[in-house]
Symmetry: C2
Subunit: 258 residues, 2 copies
């Protein structure tokens, strides 16, 4: 946003548009994959319903059921020709074509690299600093009260924190890990969360220490250890922070002694 000169900006925009095209192809392929899997499951569910209905009938009076020649024929057929059909359907991997597409796409479509992701994160954090935007507004996609983009998920915030951490930018790590934590609590139904509360606490504690607040770092580390008492690195950090705090007290006392 005003950082790149015009030529660079246009290149960046053109690249972004290419990424949107990639996304469109991936979505179509995912739709196809889901569709064939659903069709297969719907056939199997029909078969299962049939089997369950008939089996419940049989279970209600087994002797009467099996001594009836029609049932005897139907049961034998269910476990021979019919069951072979069900097995074939179960074993038939209907998604293969769509999975093969995935491999092909890697060669022919434009995908962003991990460096591109880092660059996009840095550009966003630069914007945040330039306009002094508070973290939760950016996360809500609101800039100066205007809805500027979709809301970020806890995972989007976590990744911003992780990218900051990788860049040794502990200030933004703390801001975005805190945001990830509070958003996480608002997403109780999120089934694809890629991180845990413990992960956030570990990033937060270390970055808080790096930002100079060792007492807070110790509090967070203790909280993490309540979740995972055997977390090796956290136990090491706890001893380290405790030693640091003792050392700082010692220094203060010595200063007081001056």
């Amino acid at each position: 946003v005003g950082v790149a000169v015009n030529g660079e900006l246009y290149t960046a925009l053109a690249e972004m548009e290419e990424l949107l095209e990639t996304e469109s192809v991936l979505i179509t392929n995912l739709e196809g994959y889901i569709r064939v899997q659903e069709d297969k499951l719907s056939l199997l569910k029909n078969k299962m319903d049939e089997y369950q209905r008939e089996h419940a009938d049989a279970a209600s009076d087994i002797t009467a059921y099996v001594s009836n020649p029609i049932n005897a024929y139907l049961l034998t057929k269910r476990l021979t020709t019919d069951w072979r059909q069900v097995e074939n359907l179960m074993e038939h991997d209907v998604g293969t074509d769509f999975l093969q597409n995935l491999t092909q796409y890697r060669n022919v479509l434009k995908f962003p690299s991990d460096e591109d992701l880092n660059g996009a994160a840095v550009a966003l954090l630069r914007l945040q600093d330039t306009y002094q935007l508070d973290t939760s507004s950016v996360a809500r996609g609101k800039l100066n009260g205007i809805q500027y983009s979709t809301e970020m998920s806890s995972d989007d915030c976590f990744e911003l924190g992780r990218q900051s951490y990788v860049n040794n930018d502990y200030h933004h790590t703390v801001l975005w890990m805190n945001e990830a934590m509070s958003r996480m609590l608002e997403e109780p139904l999120n089934q694809t969360q890629t991180f845990t509360r413990a992960d956030v606490l570990e990033y937060l504690a270390f970055s808080t220490y790096k930002e100079g607040n060792v007492e807070s770092a110790l509090v967070m580390t203790n909280e993490l250890l309540q979740l995972l008492p055997n977390h090796e690195r956290a136990n090491g950090n706890k001893r380290f922070y405790e030693k640091e705090i003792a050392h700082q007290k010692e220094m203060k006392k010595m200063k007081g002694d001056d």
Copy 2:
């Protein structure tokens, strides 16, 4: 039903009860397979919905979308870390355990053989003959007006016809293939039909010829050839039936000349 002596009957019943146990295990395994596949699909569908929603937003004004640093970050993230997660989920074959069970079951559970199926079919047809039951009543599971078992599907009837054919029992082949045909027309939503109208016509034509009605056999073969004009065996049979009819006419004429 009165055919086997008591000892044999009990053995047969005990075996049938074992088959019901096999069926119960197969149903439970199929339920498990369907459940894990549905869970996987539900995760993928949530992801797809997210992608579609965001992508539709982008498509409505591409330049505005991609020149927004929040969107640029989110798009880049969707195509790096997020997409890797989707790909992993797509490629993860969640049903493996249940498919492995299928192989194991073949070794440890009692399954009926193809001979058992033939035996069960013959026993049912013997019952039909003994009590002179009409085919459509048996197919409806009704014996002497009493609902005696579940209704048979067109496929159950087709298989009875096929088993009769294998036993050179053309009388029952004709009865049950006709029943399969009429039930087939009542099951327009059947997605797992294992046979076609052409299959039934072929069995019917040949068995009708074997039963002595070559004119009907020719009519059915012509009907089959309307569906599949290049059906090799049917074309051969057509020539053969036509020759037979000509030959019979010749014989009649010669008799008339006497």
